[in-house]
Symmetry: C2
Subunit: 243 residues, 2 copies
């Protein structure tokens, strides 16, 4: 039985809500259940130079309001030590390639894995932070602005997620690939299932149990199978147990 | 004065037209001007197993109708020899990561560069085939389903292109990054200009001269500058000469 405790948000923003506010109850319940009051925030998905403090403050504001303290990993001299001392980790959204490359550059991939999988400290991911929690970033929507040493990621789960999943727009005149076509291309090469998380939804993982939470359905793509829709509150443990 | 002859299409499909038909006159004029009757097609952007013949046939059909013969590179035992014997090269669209990885796997990057830049054989690219003609694939829209050894590409030009450029949709409720935001992230890291080619347009390059052709405007993003729109038939040689 895995110790992992994960809250993986499709996005930090949801139409009609202020930053992170739509996820207020989920974050609060998740951290309280795990007796956490302080969160280590990892802002490496931000691509703006010298933006880590600004990004951490942006995240700290709603979390403070929810009752939690936030520290940015960039404030520590030793990022590995910061991970080893963290009681919870939150990796925010931005550019997934920049995030993964920086996790490897700072040599904290193994430390995060160990803290989450062996020590069971809670992990919150949003968008890019959700992508890197899975097997690989092969199903990100982001632009490949930098080259990470590998696309393999934290592997806290061993299937893939596509955050910000987007349904095809009716009568669209654009001829670029739809999201479903892109995931289909992924399945020409890879066999890992891909969970498409629409904005406003999240995957809550407690050990070997997983539940879809939120305001929208999720869509699961398995190789050589028709995609399958799941209602909010669906039990998705089969994805985790098979992993 | 460079010998390069490039026709770089944003896409092979354009709303309201059959495959490649919107580009009929451009392709015909471009190849006739260069006295070419036979084209070597590179189908490596296709991710479907065993699909290279099918993809080559799909491209050969309209090109035959325009008056040109098409051979797929996969029909040759030696891809480098096929490039060295080619009188024109066409690289089609699909997945840019799969395309670039395969160009490196088959060890034909240098051969293509040499044939186009030193020998002046005409190069047609569409979508992914346009992406790989530039400095790098850092500004592709595709999903990173495989990891190429580098994001550097054929470097027939030394700026970047974003094909299938898409304007933000008014009143969109989706909170994922817009195309312009993604290109802005690219410019946090890289200084290369990015030409956003909307569907239905192309860049025609003759030595050190470049012209925007087609049905739509193009948008140019330069680091720390406001994006600039260009009308069809605009002279974009400044991009090429400065390269």
């Amino acid at each position: 039985m895995s110790k992992r405790q994960l809250l993986l948000l499709s996005s930090s923003n949801y139409h009609g809500h202020e930053f992170l506010q739509f996820a207020r109850d989920w974050i609060t319940d998740f951290l309280k259940k795990n007796n956490v009051s302080k969160i280590l925030f990892i802002p490496y998905a931000s691509t703006e130079p010298d933006s880590y403090t600004k990004y951490t403050e942006k995240v700290a504001k709603p979390l403070k309001e929810f009752g939690f303290d936030v520290e940015g990993i960039h404030e520590s001299r030793d990022p590995v030590e910061a991970i080893n001392n963290a009681s919870a980790i939150f990796i925010g959204g931005g550019n997934t390639f920049h995030l993964l490359k920086t996790l490897y550059d700072k040599r904290i991939v193994e430390a995060i894995r160990s803290r989450v999988l062996d020590n069971g400290i809670p992990y919150i991911g949003s968008s890019a932070g959700t992508n890197v929690a899975t097997v690989s970033i092969n199903t990100t929507n982001d632009m490949p602005i930098v080259l990470p040493p590998t696309f393999y990621a934290l592997q806290l789960l061993d299937f893939n997620i596509n955050p910000h999943y987007l349904d095809p727009i009716t009568d669209d005149k654009h001829r670029g690939e739809t999201r479903a076509q892109r995931i289909n291309e992924f399945h020409h090469i890879n066999s890992s299932p891909v969970l498409g998380l629409r904005e406003g939804s999240a995957l809550l993982v407690d050990g070997d149990n997983a539940t879809l939470i939120g305001h929208t359905k999720a869509i699961l793509f398995c190789r050589n199978e028709d995609p399958q829709e799941f209602e909010p509150d669906s039990d998705l443990s089969f994805l985790v147990s098979s992993s």
